[in-house]
């Protein structure tokens, strides 16, 4: 059996035997998404966010099928929007305590990166800041911030294999 799941396979499984879409999504993606959420919030909040994410994204699943992205990437991106919205609502841009999965998060792919790289990626990815805002806040040049982020993304691609 393939490790990753394609859109067609997921669509077939979701719609062929009348199983509720949520069940298959849960069994397939809950662990991955829970680990993803733990990059942003503590365990105490991660469970509630996971419930919210599944409840909000399952009815929109057709958007994932129509998207250029894989189902998992679409889920991640939409989950991140919900997480950042949650963090903004609670007024804690520092994202609170990190969960136990931080070591296995995307930041583990940047272990060997310079602190500056990690800073840019943290601010953009975890706190949802734009490069422009980050450059303005930190007093650094936009082109410098852009270059750091580009290098981060290159490292992530390289370390993913």
């Amino acid at each position: 059996m393939e490790k990753t799941i394609t859109k067609d396979l997921l669509k077939n499984e979701l719609y062929s035997d009348g199983r509720p879409a949520g069940e298959l999504l849960y069994s397939r993606y809950s662990g991955m998404l829970y680990s993803y959420i733990l990059q942003f919030v503590s365990e105490a909040e991660a469970g509630t966010l996971l419930v919210d994410i599944f409840a909000r994204l399952t009815p929109q699943l057709n958007e994932a099928f129509d998207s250029s992205l894989s189902v998992y990437c679409w889920l991640q991106i939409e989950s991140r929007k919900i997480i950042l919205e949650h963090l903004r609502k609670r007024g804690d841009e520092a994202a609170g305590d990190r969960g136990p999965a931080v070591a296995a998060s995307y930041f583990s792919l940047l272990e060997d990166a310079l602190p500056e790289h990690q800073w840019v990626f943290r601010e953009v990815f975890l706190y949802g800041k734009s490069k422009e805002d980050l450059a303005l806040e930190s007093g650094r040049d936009l082109s410098y911030v852009t270059q750091l982020l580009r290098e981060c993304l290159g490292m992530i691609r390289k370390n993913l294999g």
Partner: protein, 139 residues
Amino acid sequence: MNIELYLQSGIVESYALGLATQREVDEFEQLLPHYPELKEALRDFEYHLELFSIDNEVPPPAEVRQRIEDRLRELPAIPEARRVIRGDLPDYVAAKETSEYIRVHKIWRTLFIVVFVLAKIFLILAIYFFIRYRHVTQK
């Protein structure tokens, strides 16, 4: 466009991780169908990202599953119309007729008038010849 330079800008990773701006997303999605290299780079990155996430998944606490199931049970079912898998689409759209009127091609109006007029002519001729026949028979 120099696709190699574009790829090196980190656009694929940025797009797949949701870090791209709306303008970058729009541009990327416009270019995607025209450059197989972009599609391949995106698929490759997504594949490795998903494998990484599978290897690092953390099972959520057991009670979370129950809460999710409870919430999902409250959701309406996915509309039946969307359950048709793309590629298996029939050549017609099933539609429920609600109007009491039917719509036909305009040529049928002309044909109907011609048939109606001819029918009248034949009817008049039939009556005429019938009367003539009765008249001759009586004589």
